[in-house]
């Protein structure tokens, strides 16, 4: 019984997507244009790109840049955010600066990144770091400021020094909030890398070495292979999903006290 209803629910949910895919395929077959991607060709293109190793290599390259940028952002945002959350003076000075830069999109600093760091990995990492910095710092400050006051008072009455209180109370109390910042940072970092690689790494020689964004740029600007561009888009989405799920699993594992 249960299996039947599960099957029928899945079946019903698949009707519309299947109809859309078939319609898409039919229109594509009628148009016969190289500028019309079609589902069957996309699947074939995915097979080719994965088998040749180009797609996995590009993804690895981009992931490396995202993690590099994320590390830089964490290294700056975490200590700074904790300092802002624990000191009114620091917050009053730093907050206006942060809030002024926050609305400036990561892509808007692309020209600066290229001029300063060239068109390689360094510039891409800088863009990711810039994009990831803001969600991280905003959430770290919020987490550090929202520690329940009696938790801090209890530590003070046990005679702990201010620094020890930050280490043993503020950081663990802010951890759920920091993780939220990290999830958002990972998502915006991954978004930023694709955009950054469209421009950065243009001289890297094509193939997979320029990252997934560069790969898309080549398919767009040189070889005009729309099916392959769609493959890249799907890959970007799937990887973001996997990264987020992984981070959430890490979150649950590292915070066993949080009810999920």
């Amino acid at each position: 019984m249960a299996r039947d209803s599960t099957w029928s629910r899945w079946g019903t949910g698949l009707v519309l997507p299947l109809v859309l895919l078939l319609t898409w395929e039919a229109i594509g077959a009628m148009l016969q244009s190289p500028r019309t991607p079609v589902p069957t060709k996309i699947i074939a293109a995915a097979g080719v790109l994965i088998a040749s190793g180009d797609l996995p290599l590009a993804i690895l390259q981009s992931l490396g840049r995202v993690f590099g940028g994320l590390m830089v952002a964490v290294a700056i945002a975490l200590p700074l955010g904790l300092a802002m959350g624990n000191s009114r003076a620091v917050e009053r000075n730093v907050d206006p600066v942060v809030e002024t830069f926050r609305p400036i999109a990561a892509i808007a600093i692309l020209p600066l990144a290229i001029l300063w760091l060239g068109t390689g990995t360094a510039a891409a990492v800088m863009i990711v770091a810039y994009a990831a910095f803001f969600p991280l710092i905003v959430n770290t400050v919020a987490g550090a400021k929202n520690v329940h006051p009696t938790l801090l008072q209890a530590a003070a009455t046990m005679g702990l020094s201010r620094f020890t209180i930050i280490r043993t109370v503020v950081i663990p109390a802010a951890l759920p909030s920091i993780f939220v910042g990290l999830r958002i940072a990972l998502a915006v970092g991954w978004t930023a890398i694709v955009a950054a690689e469209l421009a950065v790494g243009a001289k890297a020689g094509g193939g997979g070495s320029g990252g997934i964004g560069q790969m898309m740029f080549i398919f767009y600007a040189y070889s005009i292979e729309l099916n392959r561009i769609i493959v890249c888009m799907i890959a970007v989405g799937l990887i973001a999903l996997v990264l987020d799920r992984g981070l959430r699993a890490l979150m649950r594992a590292s915070m066993p006290w949080v009810k999920s």
Partner: protein, 283 residues
């Protein structure tokens, strides 16, 4: 009534005082309104090894008094002192048990009890083994054996209360400051933990070996059951109305609650704050 309070306070000045509040007034500033006087000109001594309970309706400033003793708050005028030294900041000589227990959710029961010993000065001079032993002993003392690895959100209210008590006791402070620690519990758990609290405090031991306790509650029967002396406070502004000796013999238990003296004292204290309590309910 004011005369009674003054007399009792003056009399207690001669005793050897562990804690001393002298002419303490605490005002809170409220924007766009006259200052609120939370505590008005309060003078009170707490003797070494004494179980003093402050009882009064909500808003009588009893938590403010406790916070000033803890050093979490400072008086607007007057002084608060421990062993004749003026209190200006929190310190490990005065342990506090908070009304919400203030347990660290990311620490297990063991981690919470060990917290002050591990990160604070209470653990100075203790090696790992001695520290573990102290934690072990304290957890057994409050009856939490078997729950060491649980997190606070996996515990019942009574077990959280025991964990907070164990954390307080493990640090072995001179003075125990307790802010309505039993208020959040159901009536039966509450009675059991009143008995436990007296046992852990050491009511079986000679008075000289007991720790000084300042305990806050709004429950009069609880105050009578626990206290050596009861400081009755009234509200708006928070004033000391009377200090009452509780001559009931220790150790106390269920039999104590049935004594006519117990009932009489409870009635007497109720008569002191009844009018005001009614007024507060109607208002």
């Amino acid at each position: 009534m004011t005369a009674t309070a003054t007399m009792t306070a003056a009399a207690s000045m001669n005793a050897n005082a562990k804690l001393r509040l002298t002419d303490v007034t605490k005002r809170f500033q409220v924007r766009g309104a006259p200052d609120t006087v939370a505590v008005d000109n309060l003078t009170l001594d707490v003797r070494q090894g004494e179980f003093l309970v402050i009882v009064g309706p909500s808003g009588c400033g009893k938590t403010t008094v406790l916070n000033m003793l803890a050093g979490l708050d400072t008086p607007s005028s007057g002084t608060v002192a421990i062993d004749e030294r003026v209190i200006t900041a929190p310190g490990p000589d005065r342990g506090v048990m908070f009304q919400d227990y203030a347990l660290y959710p990311w620490q297990t029961v063991w981690g919470n009890v060990e917290f002050g010993l591990r990160y604070g000065p209470a653990g100075n001079g203790l090696d790992d083994k001695a520290r573990q032993e102290r934690v072990r002993r304290t957890i057994d003392l409050v009856g939490l054996k078997g729950a060491e690895r649980k997190y606070p959100n996996q515990l019942s209210g009574g077990m959280r209360q025991r964990t907070a008590l164990a954390r307080l006791m493990a640090n072995e402070p001179d003075v125990l400051l307790m802010d309505e620690p039993l208020a959040a519990l159901d009536a039966q758990t509450r009675i059991i933990l009143q008995d436990e609290l007296l046992r852990i405090w050491g009511q079986d031991r000679p008075a000289a070996e007991r720790r000084t306790v300042v305990f806050i509650t709004h429950a009069i029967d609880e105050a009578v059951f626990l206290a050596d002396r009861i400081a009755v406070m009234t509200t708006h502004p928070g004033r000391l109305k009377a200090v009452i000796d509780v001559p009931l013999a220790r150790p106390r238990g269920d039999a104590t609650r049935a004594l006519p003296e117990f009932q009489a004292l409870t009635q007497h204290i109720w008569s002191l704050i009844r009018d005001e309590a009614y007024r507060a309910t109607v208002a």
